[in-house]
């Protein structure tokens, strides 16, 4: 939810607030102490971050101080969910005005997050053109090219000259905030080629677009292309913007580089959160009970896996009663193999996300990671065995620890690669709670091997 400025934003005369200042003044002195001029000089991103922390009433109070134009910039910087809350809380005429002013892709994101009743009510109030565009954009999934594209694009015909095109886009200027490219289309709006602003500057005023436009476009997206694929395509080809076409190759919109940056950031956040068994789109300031609810299911799954691991230990109850040192060594074997697997997991999750692992490489990757676990197992296992042997004076315990750690860390390296690769192959997100599945498997394996070996050798 952010828009492109074609030139850096000019600074206003009043001094901008920092986020900390805004929060301090608001908390200590209330909304009356905020200066409208300074608020206007503050970047929309900062005001947006500030508003995200306030409740609905607070947001309304603050936004009353801000002129319409600045409000739209702020809303486009906010999370769509928060922005929808703000718009739903506004008086209807103002909400309508803002929804019409916003860039269509931002506006559609906000409509997407509204209660169904509010959405229908407001769609009935905005002008017909906006309503039609909104209904179209909402119909695409929010995570597709169609869901993130803007529909404000400049088009021209191949038979137009440079000077005609320039006059044409000068007329469009008020509507189009950000023009990188002019897309060249036929009478049915099918995409034929593209000319950049730079092409227009570099060619003579009477040159025809058809004579210098780029015809073979590699970076064209279908409306239903997944946003991650769009991001990868734009990153690989280093493009500022890609055109979006429907099934008949008709031009329907454009995805710009700032949308891609947002996607890349949020995908990375999602990966790291899912990996650790959290929600995937949780933010640090989400309502407490919402975030508890999101985390609970994974902890319940974890409870089941932990109980299986516990029951492995319970199977060796008699042996542990006879030799409680076994219980004291369990955390060492399980902890080290868990973290060995976690190292591999971290490498794999990102490699899969960035497309660095190719078909048919799965087996090779698993074997390599198993080998790395084995090598570190030999080294760490030896260190642990010597230390434990010295502390307990029992060399046979050292043998058990060493053997169990080598086997467990070797297994952990393999599991750290196998689990995300398998989840990916089965069509799941490879990051989804991988860490919970990993520690479950390394705990169970290391308890079984260590206690099994211990019972056999020591008793």
């Amino acid at each position: 939810m952010a828009e492109v400025n074609d030139t850096p934003a000019p600074a206003a005369d009043a001094e901008a607030y920092t986020l900390d200042e805004l929060r301090e003044i608001y908390t200590e002195k209330g909304v009356e102490a905020l200066d409208a001029g300074r608020l206007e000089a503050t970047s929309p991103y900062t005001v947006g971050s500030f508003l995200s922390r306030l409740d609905v009433d607070g947001r309304r109070e603050v936004l009353r101080l801000i002129p319409l134009e600045h409000t739209t910039s702020i809303l486009s910087e906010m999370d769509a969910e928060d922005a929808a809350d703000v718009v739903e809380a506004m008086r209807e005429p103002r909400a309508v005005q803002i929804l019409e002013e916003l860039d269509p892709d931002d506006s559609a994101d906000i409509f997407n997050e509204m209660e169904a009743a509010d959405r229908e009510r407001l769609l009935g109030k905005v002008d017909d053109e906006t309503a039609a565009t909104m209904r179209e954009l909402i119909s695409y999934g929010p995570d597709t090219a169609g869901g993130i594209m803007t529909t404000e694009i400049a088009t021209a015909r191949p038979s137009m000259t440079v000077i005609q095109t320039v006059r044409h886009i000068q007329r469009l200027n008020d509507e189009l905030e950000h023009i990188f490219y002019v897309y060249v289309v036929d009478e049915e709006n099918r995409l034929l080629g593209v000319v950049s602003m730079r092409d227009l500057v570099m060619h003579g005023p009477l040159d025809y677009l058809r004579d210098f436009m780029t015809r073979d476009l590699k970076g064209v997206c279908r409306v239903d292309m997944d946003q991650e694929q769009v991001a990868r395509l734009m990153a690989e080809l280093n493009l500022n913007a890609v055109p979006v076409v429907d099934a008949d190759n008709r031009l329907v919109g454009m995805v710009t580089h700032d949308d891609v940056l947002d996607i890349v950031q949020s995908e990375a956040t999602e990966d790291i959160q899912k990996l650790m068994g959290a929600g995937g789109d949780e933010a640090v300031n989400d309502p407490v009970f919402q975030s508890i609810r999101r985390r609970t299911p994974w902890l319940l799954i974890n409870l089941v896996t932990a109980m299986i691991a516990g029951s492995v230990v319970y199977a060796f109850e008699d042996q542990i009663s006879k030799m409680a040192i076994l219980a004291a060594c369990m955390p060492v074997v399980a902890g080290l193999s868990g973290n060995t697997g976690a190292q591999t997991l971290a490498i794999l999750i990102r490699s899969i996300a960035l497309g660095d692992i190719h078909s048919g490489e799965d087996r090779r990757v698993c074997i390599r990671e198993m080998f790395k676990g084995l090598m570190n197992g030999l080294l760490i296992g030896l260190t642990a065995a010597v230390t434990v042997g010295a502390l307990t004076g029992n060399p046979m315990i050292s043998v058990v620890i060493f053997t169990a750690m080598v086997m467990a860390m070797c297994f952990a390296g393999m599991a750290g690669a196998f689990i995300p690769l398998m989840l990916n192959k089965l069509g799941f997100d490879p990051a989804q709670s991988s860490n919970i599945f990993l520690t479950a498997s390394t705990d169970i394996f290391s308890f079984a091997v260590f206690l099994g070996l211990g019972s056999w050798i020591l008793l």
Copy 2:
């Protein structure tokens, strides 16, 4: 290491190879079976990914099939370390030619990764202008604005008209692959303002730049600004490119949006790998022993923490001998509190990285996370207590399990927030091996509480 195309890349006539095809043909039939025409039609990114997997000899063989111009595009898509290996292995005249052809920022990255002797030798061979630019760029840290900027920028004077400026940049066209903006400077190269390509298209041919250039530039970087700060600035202001100036406000270069995308991707990878105690910049195809060496130190630290946890258990040796069920329940309490902390950790790492937590909020965040741990502890602890009670028929064990889990998960929520916040405050990377420190603290706490309560209540 990637460059901006101002227009989408045109497709050549020959059919492009996919990465899998390249690898298959090369592995099965050798380099002779690769078709030069099809290689040229393949995107530089794909060829770069393919070359990264080959050894130095393989890279040299394949690059012999590729014309100079395409080679530079491929090198600019490769990791600088790999690209430096390739260039160092080339015949000197070709290496010199390529280093002169490459964009200065890419070329400087490659020089940065060379052996010192090779660097000095090649700097002596390239033309004087390239050598001077290289020495300047190398002098900036690789992670600063100066290290990632390109020096190929278009400048103009405020007294120039649109038509003069257009003629001027038309002459520069061959040198400058990507022009978004023309920077307006005084006679000492101090930055006065900027005009975009779009400004040039939108204004009359006889308008003076000084009359419409944007003077108040918010997005200006100093050469020594950290690359993460540059990325955040560009993301917040939604800019395509930012000018880079030295201490005297003299324009020295420009950072473009594709550089920022690379930074954001690699920062996310680093976070996730460091979090799990891996190297931070390990790739799935790194040499096996290099990646083992990077992971070993963290596993040794983990061995120390695991032994401390083990010695806590050992302190309860007598109690465990009398009641081995305690050992069986340990993994449940420790596992659940470890994963509760991991959920919090995942949220915090990204919130800190994205700048969502502000000064003075640390205490509030820790308390909120502790509360979330407490709530889930009550729920999960109750479930575990009922299950274990039913399985063992011993209600007092249920009491111990419930109490220990509530306390341990409450502690884990707090620790999952406290550890990264404290690392950050102390000036360390908050992600650095947080997971190892976290599981150490949750293991030790949960063993002590559970076994302590168990001894007290059950024996």
